[in-house]
């Protein structure tokens, strides 16, 4: 896969060539493409005058900076204790059945990726999940159905 040179140039122009701009640039690539490819990392390294290994090291450290292709909508279900107690397992099963994928997988049409994540900070309204940046809390099987139906049409 070729690098997204135009996007990277745009981000570099916006945030600058300093290493402190690396996180915003990586975040910008994920925002646009749902993941950062190896070629993207090499291109970013060139622009910022870093080694590709340095960029790779940073990118792979963060759980939200995906380095393998993801769907257009990344679903992250909170698995930390309170959401877990309040029915996370059932939510995950509902999602797996609806999307016909397992945790960690992406649907064939590249629309949805299903992941688990650590505490989202919605413990008082668990179970909860993120779809891209949007939060959904106090989930039930019914609301999950409704939410996914809505995203199917997007």
């Amino acid at each position: 896969m070729p690098a997204n040179n135009n996007l990277i140039k745009e981000l570099v122009n916006k945030y600058g060539r300093d290493r402190t701009s690396l996180m915003p640039i990586l975040q910008g690539v994920v925002e646009q493409n749902n993941f950062i490819s190896d070629m993207d990392m090499t291109e970013i390294a060139k622009e910022l005058d870093l080694s590709a290994a340095q960029v790779f090291g940073t990118a792979t450290f963060y759980s939200f900076l995906d380095t393998i292709p993801r769907g257009r909508f990344v679903i992250r279900v909170c698995k930390t204790i309170i959401c877990d107690m309040h029915g996370k397992k059932m939510i995950l099963q509902t999602l797996e059945n609806l999307l016909k994928i397992k945790v960690g997988e992406t649907t064939q049409d590249k629309k949805f990726t299903l992941l688990e994540t650590n505490c989202l900070g919605w413990c008082h309204k668990g179970p909860s999940m993120l779809i891209n940046h949007d939060v959904y809390s106090e989930l039930t099987a019914e609301t999950v159905h409704e939410i996914i139906a809505e995203y199917m049409h997007k």
């Binding site: 963060y62 900076l65 650590n118 940046h133 949007d134």
Partner: protein, 387 residues
Amino acid sequence: MSEFVKRVDLIFGEYSDQKYKTLEKIVSRPNDDIIKDILDSGLRGRGGAGFPTAMKWKFAMEQPGDEKYVICNADEGEPGTFKDREILTQVPRKVFAGMAICGKVIGAKKGYIYLRGEYHYLLPGLLKEIDVYNTFAKELGIDFAIEIRMGSGAYICGEESALFESMEGKRGEPRNKPPYPTVSGYLNKPTVINNVETFVNVLMICRIGPVKYKKLGTRDSRGSKVFSVSGDTPIAGIYELELGMPLEKFVEEFGDGDTKAVQVGGASGFCVPRKKFKDTIIGFEGVPTGGSMMIFNSSRSMYNVLHNYLDFFEEESCGQCTPCRVGCQQLRKGIEAIKSGDKPVTYLDQLIKLSETMKITAKCGLGQSVANSFSSIVTNFKEEMIY
């Protein structure tokens, strides 16, 4: 509420449309006076560690040079904590004003809010408010601008030095201390990094004065605290309460009548069993907390709770130092082996020893604090670990 559980309306209260009126008054006050007020108030950091805020600011103020930074730690990742999100949603201007006061005192021109990736949805609203602040600051001649930096899903970046590394475009791996941030923080410049709630407390101290502020709480735990209450409670949510209350009274207020244990301070905090509710004080003289209060009733397996925490630590460990990277894995595998009968019960003692070793040898707070929840759960709920 009972006489012991006292509601306070300091952090979320009094949020007028008349923007930044306290800040406007305070910019002309001498820095030493402000430090003295904060010192007199007894304010200790609200992120969990509880370092005296006035001392931190004083250290940074005394550092030479004019390149200094103020950072607001909004990487609220501790399981069971969600109060910073609420503060940033309800009263963001109070946070910015607190940061601006800090900037003035220590001589910093730049402030950053490091917001966790999970709270990205707050960004548009916060950016708008920051624009308002920056314009206002310019009009008032306050040479202190605020910017937001986003995290990307790493619990460890709530550790201050890991947060600097992340902002510098590196892996979020904690640094050796000393040097402390007030000497060498972001970009190796003197930096004050405080929790979201701490900045609001500073503003409130400036607004109501240390004498009034000190009337809240106890000798060791002054002021109020925003608590995140979750778990087996009919009234989960965010509550601002006076510090220093007995846990027993807290449970009476928030429990569902069948509370077996309360995890105070999140996964890295302490698990207090029912028999100790009476003698436990919530505050720096007892069990400190960054605000996380997770309540478990009799229907919960404490083995599952501990296993969930260990999974969490294992994933969130940065992997830099061996005690934490290997220790978290071994603790998790160890309790699994005891549960399945592959290891004898006496192996639990070995695991406790391992967690104690992590406490003294791990590089940062993550690895050091795994022992808190581990030994408090294992010793208080031994049967549940075995059967």
